[in-house]
Subunit: 128 residues, 2 copies
């Protein structure tokens, strides 16, 4: 399955896609910007926004909108999972367990095809 990112494969696009793929949870544009700007490399904010849009329309990443209203992006190839949002530090991480068992695919007369769960609380690090 060839991954096509725009019409040309550039260093910036590779880096941005890698950052999103390797993150422990969905990342915001600000988080991508910080990760993309190190001593060795530097990517402009406009490129980040443009690349995120490009990756979205190529279905290589997908957006996750949590109840905090902040848009975040994650690799589109991930298995079914949910998200945990720390009320203290704001970090969002993936939760691979799914405690919902939809034997019942119907709720209140509606046919359920999928679901998204966001947990809120205090993360492992903030509890310490």
């Amino acid at each position: 399955m060839p991954k096509k990112i725009g019409q040309r494969k550039t260093q910036q696009r590779e880096i941005i896609f890698e950052i999103i793929k390797n993150a422990p949870g969905p990342v915001s544009v600000q988080e991508i910007l910080e990760a993309a700007n190190t001593d060795e490399q530097s990517i402009g904010i406009a490129t980040i926004y443009r690349t995120v849009k490009l990756l979205l329309s190529s279905h290589l990443i997908q957006s996750v909108t949590l109840p905090d209203g902040q848009a975040r992006y994650e690799n589109a190839e991930l298995a079914h999972h949910h998200h945990f949002h720390c009320n203290k530090c704001g970090v969002v991480t993936d939760i691979n367990e799914c405690c919902m068992h939809l034997h019942d695919n119907e709720v209140a007369g509606n046919l359920i095809e999928s679901h998204e769960i966001t947990f809120f609380g205090v993360c492992k690090a903030c509890r310490a």
Copy 2:
């Protein structure tokens, strides 16, 4: 349970809270602004933003983020519920049943304080 809105009860705060409470669904800041500015009354945008924050921190309203990424607000007194988003007609409805039983208030080392679930599928009307 007395409802305290800030330290003073003002007309603006009453109006904004009423708009949110009486709306048929969660409303955005823009929608509140439009509803609050009629021939008879006029409320500034800064007051809307300030009041929404105040109502949120007083837990009189809560924010809901629909798949369009826009932040919306609803009365917090609605019982614990979730949302169903119809993939066909786009309508969002409340789901009053909660099939999640968090006997376990810890997941992957994180302390769980609350959760939100969004179901996606085909609504009752679209199935007909």
